[in-house]
Point group: C3
């Protein structure tokens, strides 16, 4: 049984949804030595998230940003936790709704993503800075 783990720091991304599939694969060549298993990607932050969605048309990522800002608005008047700026409390909520980890099956040394699936970093802060991820791969 194999178990690999690596901590990586992403470059700072602007607020929005960003495809990081290639970053993950390039940072973690140990994946190739796993015949059958699971990759866990974990983000160590509470104002950013991870999700899987369409990897082709960039308008999907734009629509994600537009819609999620409308449904969890910075102008929501009942937030008490506001001293870190109006983008902070919405970022916490978005982080929990999208989630802080992904689990992707590994087969023959490759991520078994569907044809149209890509890994998204969801940056919910205006200036989130470099985000830390833990990559853990387990299998045979």
């Amino acid at each position: 049984m194999k178990c690999y783990q690596k901590s990586i720091k992403l470059r700072p991304y602007p607020r929005g949804f960003h495809i990081i599939t290639d970053v993950i694969i390039n940072e973690f060549p140990q994946l190739e030595s796993i015949e059958t298993g699971i990759l866990n990607i974990f983000i160590q932050h509470t104002s950013a998230g991870l999700t899987i969605n369409e990897n082709a048309d960039p308008t999907v990522r734009k629509d994600f940003e537009t819609f999620i800002n409308d449904i969890i608005p910075e102008t929501y008047s009942k937030f008490i936790h506001d001293y870190e700026g109006p983008d902070d409390m919405p970022a916490h909520l978005k982080s929990s709704i999208f989630g802080s980890s992904l689990q992707i099956p590994i087969g023959h040394g490759k991520l078994m993503l569907g044809t149209w699936q890509g890994i998204y970093l969801c940056e919910f802060r205006n200036h989130g800075g470099p985000r830390k991820l833990i990559l853990t791969a387990m299998g045979l």
Copy 2:
């Protein structure tokens, strides 16, 4: 350590929420040989999802469909990504909100679901077709 993996194709389901617990268990008898471990179910699509919820009263699944269509409406006027039809962009958003994988503990060869828990396929497209799942079970 054991690690089993199987790719399965579901029959086409109509738009809505559908219990597929028995399909998973029947397709993956290898589960029975794992004393302690985890099952990962991964859907290789960006307009459908997976979740766990109540397995008894079918009105729960109807209420899921009604509510989620109201909160992520096809009539939302700001979507740019609309050339695959009005059900497409809402489907992408719903997929990320519900998620594309489930992790369920295995004990004594069985899924350790609670009494009222069932595995839902969330079909967000009007004509999603047959959906592909990857089942991966790891443990002792």
Copy 3:
């Protein structure tokens, strides 16, 4: 390869979001013997959930409760499934949106949570009672 599993019952928590990081760690000392791996936490209920979010300022948890009640209101008139009380159907939806499991990397016998991350029990019922969790840790 190591694989530990434990079923625990939480004390009843009031409706709202509650940090249970210490409960998990104290109930599962086997974590310390895993050098590299993953902890899975699974809740065996469909009207409560688990998430990771900020562990410091309690106003974040209050804002979670306020916001989620506004966006999935008990007064939503189209719910059919209402015979278990007005807090029931919203609880099912919230449970699927937040999710029923967490996966957290383990390094050197410790959970690799970020500085500000805590594990939340999301209690969505008015009187949810004691909730059952399954803890499963796997790794080397």
